[in-house]
């Protein structure tokens, strides 16, 4: 029988974290932003059908970066969790906080116990009746959970995007303005030496929103709405100086 080499727990966890971080940084960034009209989710994603953004429940959305099969299985598990909970209790008993803590537990368990950690980073966003009630939770591969205010950027060269976005984002903006700010900032992801790439267009973008008052706007309790390419074009075509 071969003798196993001793690896200290510190080293083991560090190696796993480095591995997961590298996997996540390979993709492109996703931005989740709170604003006056609700929460906007913007991702660079050339595929029209393999989504990085998804609906979980009435007022809750999901955004992810990393390995598709891993975050897709987490998204489906989240939809099951929310639907079972809403069916057995009541629709208003499904909260982003509950979902985020379940995600944190399963990510933490996979990180320590499985042979390979998940190479994913997730955001769970819940839109409130007022901007102050919005919740954006960030979940990382090791099960860490953070409650963020304003906006978050995950994946890719997130630091460059955060830097670009911090000058552009304000809480009072509307959907069109925050989406333009997010798209402009995403072009700093993978830009060479701090220079932005050409502005992204609707063919390489995935955009969704959580409306603050979907009942008044569309007569539905479901706040999640994926913006079709034509609508993204309209939002982006509006002159930046007029906003």
């Amino acid at each position: 029988m071969t003798q196993q080499f001793y690896v200290s727990p510190e080293q083991l966890m560090k190696d796993r974290a480095d591995f997961a971080r590298k996997g996540i940084a390979r993709g492109r960034s996703v931005v989740v932003l709170s604003c006056r009209e609700g929460i906007a989710l913007v991702a660079e994603n050339p595929s029209p059908s393999l989504h990085k953004l998804g609906e979980i429940y009435d007022r809750i959305a999901f955004a992810a970066v990393g390995k598709y099969n891993e975050f897709e299985s987490l998204r489906q598990a989240g939809v099951r969790y929310a639907d079972v909970r809403g069916y057995s209790y009541d629709r208003e008993d499904v909260t982003a906080r509950g979902l985020a803590s379940v995600y944190a537990q399963s990510l933490g368990a996979v990180f320590t116990a499985e042979s390979k950690p998940f190479e994913v980073e997730l955001a769970v966003a819940e839109v409130g009746l007022h901007p102050g009630q919005d919740h954006i939770y960030r979940l990382t591969f090791d099960g860490s959970i953070a409650d963020e205010t304003g906006f978050i950027v995950m994946g890719g060269q997130a630091d460059a995007v955060v830097e670009a976005l911090s000058g552009r984002w304000e809480a009072e903006l509307d959907f069109a303005q925050v989406i333009r700010a997010a798209v402009d900032s995403l072009s700093y992801d993978a830009g060479t030496s701090g220079e932005p790439r050409a502005r992204l267009d609707s063919a390489t973008l995935e955009v969704a929103v959580l409306d603050r008052d979907p009942l008044a706007a569309r007569g539905s309790a479901r706040a999640f709405r994926r913006l079709p390419a034509a609508e993204v074009d309209v939002v982006l075509a509006t002159d930046r100086t007029s906003s």
């Binding site: 998804g54 939809v79 099951r80 639907d83 079972v84 809403g86 057995s88």
Partner: protein, 273 residues
């Protein structure tokens, strides 16, 4: 090595909420209720029953309407009950039979459709929805044999064929596509007669609402378990339309107007039957 990879595909093939909850928490299903052996007394006197639902196609869509009465034996259990519900954006269902179980089946069906939509990222086909509802009615068969039957009527807009379609069910889960119009519940025989005389091809939406309200009026006239328009409490039937733009609940004032026109025209003619 993990378990057989093909087994994982089999598991992933099921995107059904009711299948999932049946494996995780089967007691949460409406059909899991165990009412024991059927003792003395009829279930019609134990639990509220919902009655007449009418549905008809019109130009560009389909309409469903239900009265507001629930009965327990010869007692009126509720004058406010609603029996027609949106199932998802492009379909509605109406329920007749044991009210408590029917409401649970409705709620399960609504979650089933929304769950599929979220997991798959696309809407279920209209035939798929009709089949899922059939499975839920079939699961309720043991309770139906104990007298707690649920008989839904399902109507939706087929977004590929661009037409409104409607489906009826029997307690064994048999699914039957109906043409032009259909009705279920204890007052349905009378409503059906009215629909046969009043329905015409290519009705407009307003005319269709009037036809449905009049059919329910006739059902209430002859069936004690069906409630007519209640002018004292200002209670009108619940009416939904489904067309290419989705489903829409007809506002109270249109229904009040339709009901009052029928009452007025029948008062004027002053006929007995």
């Amino acid at each position: 090595m993990p378990e057989d990879a093909a087994a994982a595909i089999g598991r992933a093939a099921s995107t059904s909420f009711s299948d999932y909850i049946a494996s995780q928490n089967p007691t949460a299903l409406p059909s899991a209720r165990n009412v024991g052996s059927n003792g003395s007394g009829s279930s019609t006197e134990l639990a509220p029953h919902a009655t007449t639902i009418v549905s008809l196609t019109y130009a560009g869509g389909v309409l469903m309407a239900g009265d507001r009465r629930a009965t327990m034996g010869n007692v009126i259990a509720s004058r406010h009950i609603e029996k027609v519900f949106p199932a998802d954006m492009f379909s509605v269902l109406g329920i007749a039979g044991s009210a408590g179980i029917a409401l649970d089946v409705t709620r399960l069906f609504q979650v089933e459709l929304e769950h599929y939509e979220k997991i798959e990222g696309t809407r279920m086909s209209l035939d798929g929805k009709a089949n899922r509802l059939a499975a839920m009615v079939r699961a309720n068969l043991p309770l139906a044999l104990q007298g707690l039957a649920v008989v839904p009527l399902f109507a939706g807009f087929d977004t590929t064929r661009r037409i409104g379609r409607l489906f009826s069910y029997d307690v064994t889960g048999g699914r039957y596509e109906e043409q032009e119009h259909h009705s279920v519940g204890s007052g349905s025989v009378f409503a059906r007669g009215a629909l046969k005389k009043l329905w015409k091809p290519n009705l407009g939406e307003d005319e269709a609402v009037k036809v449905a309200v009049e059919a329910l009026y006739d059902a209430a006239d002859d069936d004690s378990a069906t409630g007519g328009p209640d002018v004292v409490r200002q209670l009108w039937p619940v009416v939904y339309t489904v067309n290419g733009a989705g489903n829409r609940r007809i506002p109270e004032r249109s229904l009040a107007q339709a009901a009052q026109e029928i009452i007025a025209s029948r008062s004027v003619s002053g006929r007995e039957a």
